[in-house]
């Protein structure tokens, strides 16, 4: 990423919290830092001595042994409230997904704390699914992996299959997932993930899957989930879908929180920053 970009004029700061009614916070991030450590890079990479050094003296000489630290999120603080839909924007590699994973409790933070109400769930079950199994079994597996009970999955099964539209073109749900087109697989994944009601829902660019009609349906489903859920976080590069679903936007750039405010204000600055493109 170019380092020559200039900081735009600071946009209006968030006015949250000045309301009269007491609002219930669901996620509080308090000066969060997230650091990735990557093995086997940097100076002396790949040599046997460097590797040995790394294993033997792991704690003391982390840097000397060629472990690279990637500071993905820096000193980010925000408070999200019940009923909010928050968009996370920023150029590629700005730390959006990392922050989301930390909120979900999937990545440990280096410094600071993240407080949450209940267990936030990242919308995504990709990894739990197995391409050699039929769609039907994957619905069960995915549901169970998200923490639904067997009865809950059974109850929602038809709903999930109907929503995914897998069976619109024939009985595909009883075929192994490896026979699906990538679009079909993505639709099934989204449908499984969206079947559960969540307290705090984190969506990472999931709306970009499927054909136009499925995108419409999933956007509607996100809005519905938002009604049930306390708070929705949405990571997207599609400014339109952010504008349609979110009322507040956090803009991350190079791991730092650059702006936090109402969607229209932040997007205006962001679009200016990225060159006015949509």
């Amino acid at each position: 990423m170019a380092d020559t970009i200039t900081r735009p004029a600071e946009g209006p700061r968030s006015t949250h919290g000045t309301d009269t009614a007491e609002r219930v916070p669901t996620v509080i991030a308090d000066r969060v830092d997230i650091v990735y450590r990557v093995n086997g890079t940097g100076a002396g990479r790949g040599t046997a001595t460097a590797a040995l050094n790394r294993i033997l003296r792991r704690k003391k000489t982390e840097k000397a042994a060629g472990v690279r630290r990637v500071h993905a999120v820096r000193n980010v603080s925000f408070t999200a409230y019940r009923g909010e839909a928050i968009g996370l924007i920023g150029t590629n590699g700005s730390g959006k997904s990392t922050l989301l994973k930390a909120v979900a409790g999937l990545l440990p933070v280096e410094n600071g704390r993240i407080y949450t109400d209940g267990q936030p769930s990242l919308l995504g079950v990709n990894a739990a699914l197995m391409s050699d199994l039929t769609g039907e079994r994957n619905v069960f597996l995915g549901g169970l992996a998200m923490g639904m009970s067997r009865d809950q999955v059974r109850e929602r099964y038809q709903e999930i299959v109907d929503f995914s539209g897998i069976n619109e073109k024939g009985d595909f749900i009883t075929l192994p997932m490896r026979t699906y087109s990538s679009g079909m697989a993505a639709r099934l994944r989204f449908s499984i993930a969206a079947a559960k009601d969540h307290d705090v829902l984190l969506v990472d660019e999931a709306l970009a899957t499927g054909d136009r009609s499925f995108q419409k349906r999933s956007e509607a489903r996100i809005r519905e989930l938002r009604k049930h859920a306390g708070t929705v976080f949405l990571v997207s590069h599609n400014n339109k879908s952010i504008r349609d679903t979110c009322d507040r936007v956090l803009w991350l750039e190079r791991g730092e929180l650059r702006m936090d405010g109402p969607t229209a204000d932040v997007l205006k600055e962001y679009e200016k920053f990225t060159g006015g493109k949509k």
Binding site: G17, E22, I28, R69, R74, L144, A145
Partner: protein, 308 residues
């Protein structure tokens, strides 16, 4: 070395409603909990219990997915152990003549191979349980011990298929069905507990240092030859001039204990006198030591899995 230029942090920090209140205080007032913190041990056990259906479904799914592309399909579950036993019989029974001094050698060998394979593949799978499922670990929230447990359960299911083969072989060799066959159940329960414990410990190792999975096959192979899978330790060690502690160590090593218990349960010519003293107590001891120790060791690093 840092990837990001150090620009001063923006002052957005703390858009908290009451300016005087710190985020921690606000969180405490509304009963929010720290995200990604390690649950207490009883809590962890409860979470794990709540995911039991996922654990079994995941194991079964893995097992079925294994042969789903093969033409013979699930038949391989049975053919695989059968071929395995045939290879070992050819080499150790026919070519090397290890069968001298062992009555009912074929049942002896096949039982040994199947029981050992159960422990071996559980530990191998455990080593890769977390490091091989990083996608899952980074996408979903569940007690991570589900993974090694699930892999061990898959191996147990695999063993049950092998047991069908084993029973057929036993009957074909003229081994009578006796009441002692019921001892299979406690023997398997103990062995499963032991396997699961070691698998959990190895899962933590493997998550931290993936290199372990490269090393494990060698460790396991050494262990196999030292556990009397293909031969009777008594017979092999009888005419050797080894210190007696070597004999004791080999005899009481968990793999040998579980293999001998299974042989004692199934084969009538394998007498109780061939078992080491206090064998059930030793089997229970290994199971508890590995099971509880491995579980606690795994839990201690619960919040760090999936990092980096």
């Amino acid at each position: 070395m840092s990837q990001v230029l150090h620009t001063p942090p923006p002052t957005t920090a703390g858009s908290a409603p009451a300016a005087a209140e710190s985020p921690a205080q606000l969180a405490a007032r509304h009963g929010l909990s720290v995200s990604g913190a390690r649950p207490s041990l009883p809590q962890y056990v409860r979470q794990l219990w709540a995911r039991r259906h996922f654990i079994t479904a995941f194991a079964t799914a893995k097992l079925t997915a294994q042969y789903s592309q093969a033409k013979l399909g699930q038949l391989w579950q049975v053919v695989n152990p059968l071929l395995n036993a045939a290879v070992y019989y050819l080499i150790f029974g026919v070519l090397m003549g290890t069968k001298r001094g062992v009555p009912d050698y074929v049942p002896f060998l096949v039982t040994g191979v199947f029981v050992w394979t159960f422990t071996q593949s559980s530990i191998m799978a455990g080593t890769k349980a977390v490091s091989g499922s990083l996608g899952l670990v980074r996408a979903l929230h569940f007690p991570r011990a589900s993974l090694p447990l699930s892999y061990c359960l898959q191996q147990l299911q695999q063993l049950l298929f092998s047991m069908i083969v084993l029973v057929v072989i036993l009957l074909a060799c003229g081994v009578p069905v006796t009441a002692s066959w019921l001892l299979i159940v406690p023997a398997l329960v103990l062995q499963f507990t032991f396997n699961a414990g070691v698998a959990m410990a190895m899962a933590r190792f493997g998550a931290k240092t993936p290199d372990v999975s490269q090393l494990m096959p060698f460790v396991l192979r050494t262990w196999m030859y030292a556990s009397g899978v293909m031969w009777s330790l008594d017979v092999v060690l009888a005419d050797r001039d080894l210190p007696s502690w070597v004999h004791t160590v080999l005899e009481y090593n968990p793999a040998a204990v579980y293999i001998d218990l299974m042989r004692f349960a199934l084969i009538d010519s394998f007498q109780g006198s061939q078992l080491p003293d206090h064998v059930w107590a030793v089997a229970l001891g290994w199971a508890l030591l590995a099971g509880i120790g491995g579980f606690i060791y795994f839990w201690k690093a619960e919040e760090t899995y999936g990092r980096g």
